[in-house]
Symmetry: D3
Amino acid sequence: MPLTGPTALDLPAVSPLPEETEAYFKLCEDKLGLVPNVLRAYAFDIEKLTTFTALYNDLMLGNSGLSKLEREMIAVVVSSVNRCWYCQVAHGAAVRELSGDPALGEAMVMNYRAADLDPRTRAMLDFTVKVTEASSTIEEPDRQALRDHGFTDRDIWDIASVAGFFAMSNRMASAVAMAPNPEYHGTAR
Amino acid sequence: MPLTGPTALDLPAVSPLPEETEAYFKLCEDKLGLVPNVLRAYAFDIEKLTTFTALYNDLMLGNSGLSKLEREMIAVVVSSVNRCWYCQVAHGAAVRELSGDPALGEAMVMNYRAADLDPRTRAMLDFTVKVTEASSTIEEPDRQALRDHGFTDRDIWDIASVAGFFAMSNRMASAVAMAPNPEYHGTAR
Amino acid sequence: MPLTGPTALDLPAVSPLPEETEAYFKLCEDKLGLVPNVLRAYAFDIEKLTTFTALYNDLMLGNSGLSKLEREMIAVVVSSVNRCWYCQVAHGAAVRELSGDPALGEAMVMNYRAADLDPRTRAMLDFTVKVTEASSTIEEPDRQALRDHGFTDRDIWDIASVAGFFAMSNRMASAVAMAPNPEYHGTAR
Amino acid sequence: MPLTGPTALDLPAVSPLPEETEAYFKLCEDKLGLVPNVLRAYAFDIEKLTTFTALYNDLMLGNSGLSKLEREMIAVVVSSVNRCWYCQVAHGAAVRELSGDPALGEAMVMNYRAADLDPRTRAMLDFTVKVTEASSTIEEPDRQALRDHGFTDRDIWDIASVAGFFAMSNRMASAVAMAPNPEYHGTAR
Amino acid sequence: MPLTGPTALDLPAVSPLPEETEAYFKLCEDKLGLVPNVLRAYAFDIEKLTTFTALYNDLMLGNSGLSKLEREMIAVVVSSVNRCWYCQVAHGAAVRELSGDPALGEAMVMNYRAADLDPRTRAMLDFTVKVTEASSTIEEPDRQALRDHGFTDRDIWDIASVAGFFAMSNRMASAVAMAPNPEYHGTAR
Amino acid sequence: MPLTGPTALDLPAVSPLPEETEAYFKLCEDKLGLVPNVLRAYAFDIEKLTTFTALYNDLMLGNSGLSKLEREMIAVVVSSVNRCWYCQVAHGAAVRELSGDPALGEAMVMNYRAADLDPRTRAMLDFTVKVTEASSTIEEPDRQALRDHGFTDRDIWDIASVAGFFAMSNRMASAVAMAPNPEYHGTAR
């Protein structure tokens, strides 16, 4: 919080930003009302920013059997287990927005077991938590439990991918003390 | 191990592979003597293969203040904490090869504290383990400890990035039961 | 959430409520705009409601070297460790209200280490977490650390008392699936 | 143990004690042969002593579907998980006394799974341990398991209440290094 | 406890016992007033009984810089961490007997940190707990801390050996549900 | 690794070695091509060397319903949980040698769940891990599960004994920084 840049590391953004990056940041501001600090943090190296963004966009916004809300719920539950400040704030806001249900966003942060979820969604989040806390113990019955709730093998890949992505992002954000944009706190309350 | 494809999911590779992917796999075979199963696993969706590969190559092979061996040591230590079969096998082989020291590869898998490491490398791996096990407790003194061993802020970013990447990859590999190529076991013993 | 009463147990409130209880609930509604569900939950046995309320009021509202905000911060940090849905919701709202700082309330829920706290407050919350997670390892140096930040022995008693109280309340609320009043979610955002 | 007062804090009892407190302590000595140190510890503030005692007496001595022995078994099992010196000593003595079975008191302290318990009592203590160690994961099947052993919803409330109370008392006692009266050690051996 | 033999396994003692074993059991009865059930449990195979007894006697009764009481304190602290019913009962009795201090025996079982120990004994037990809970993290500073309290390298070997022995015995006793002789409960109270 | 003797302790072997020990070490060299460092470590006290060797030989080489490979698999799985450098190296080599399957040796070290094991062997190793990690929670159903896979009560004793032995040896080796003979690393790859 007492940071002047988006992280605790002294890694200023490339200056001036390449035109394409500049345009992308402008697009964020237009659509989201802000440039997420995670993007500013990566902007010290445009190659890194690009690969990160490509992966993020494919996973969270690309084609999938999982809805965007489901993917954001996975994001917040993983970030809650890992107690990642940045990701709970930013993706908690996304759950509130996509669901129109502020209490659901809070439950994903505080204890997803307290939410009133249908069994399919609950199974998805239980698998997510196991991937997050004890991935080395996942075996065929864990995957089969998802299939029994109607998830395809591609859906299973996507659940694991989103959970894995936030295992990475949470650690990155915490390791460098990434500060969430303050606008998120009041979003969709 | 009783798998016929590279994972437990029924997600066959795109067939035929795009020319560019075909060429990349051919390059792998020429340089490594095999196509890593992780690439075959992602090949059901070329967009996903591409974003994964771009991120991997930037982190593990791109420009960095960390040597390739240091990055592979981080990879194995993370994978050991997470007990990821695929990544310990594949990256344990890489540590043996890059270091020419089979015992070092074993130590990264079994207990990095038993290896005879210089204090700088030890600090790098201690930070790695904290990122892996308790990222929410990392604070400024953890980063400062790395600086005190001569790491730059960019190095800290890279250590966190590699540790984070394997937090993701380990979970992905374990969640889908990714099988390592058997050739790795005997490499550089 | 799909509960019709304040908990998952079939323990309806005494009916009609004794006049004094009725008056107390009326007072809550006037002052808070709601009767906290925890009070409704205890109202199946007026003796239990009375002893609970007396203890709560002494600890959280009574005379103390700790400010009300400090006591609520302890409450939320304990409830975050225990992932108590009811208490994080209700007391998170209290922190936002008493501090006028919504982000502070979120940080107490998500990861108190991410908040920008003065060293005295941080020491108070570190002690709180140790009481919550590993009370059997508390020894004289833990108490002395608080004294070194200016806390008196009476303050130490109060920190431990509030932390202990929520160790109890969190377990009670979780064990009976106590539902927080929905009004809390939007309070002081 | 090297303490001169009942705790490590410098919080002497009100002096002289109010007449009512004096009488209560006299009653303890007559009935128990001692004034429990926990009462002396709270006597620096008569309001706190009163609220604590009221809650304790309601829970441990008041009307309940649980026998006093069952409540004391819960107390010791919780205190064993939390390794609280004061409560294991004092309530271990109570289990020995109420049951007339010294080995039962030891088993509650050392490992309740080693005791030869009927399935209903075992279910009660398994629930107790879950409340103590992982309250955020308690859900309807946990409560239903108790109902299946014949416990009423009011009994479930009481089990949770006693378990919760010792979650509080253990932390309070450990945080201030409360010393048990030495007389307990030899009681009912 | 509802066992008819000394364990839950159907492994009756060799019958008749060899003369030498008979004599050894007779000696136990004369000196201890009982034949420890652990010996009866191993008596299904005289070779196993002999190797176990030889190791036990060397470690616990043989020549060492550690007193017999110190060795028994280590035994109980390890058994407390592992919550081994048999060993806490049998060796808790030994601590009470050798020390003449029943409260000390209880503290070793319940929480050794609550005992009033001299710094050297405390260091010995802290090392013991680290060997028990996290042996893979022991490094030179842990050994040096013992040397700084006056322990020789041979003493360090002996502390580790006794701690290691009970890591084994605790698991053996718990795995086969070994029942302690009831006489221990009342010993030296 | 920077050690000149077999451990970090200054406990040189008896010199000269007794004739019988000398002969035993010669036998090791003839049969194994080396004298295991664990034997050199114990050789500072011939009584300790003898009792350790007698127990080891009875458990690992003596008569049992478990094959030598099964016993070595148990050894490595326990040592993997405990991350013991010496035992993973030495007994990992034994699994590779006895099985002729280098990947099996690696799987025991890295994550036994990834190996393609028959259900009986898997049950044996699951019991082993429970003995290693949570022995106080073992109860009759755990033993019955082994019987259901065809293990006799004597087999159960032997599984527990081998698991218990390495609980001891791992701690001993880690506590004194025992260095494995370097020859093990390349064995049977």
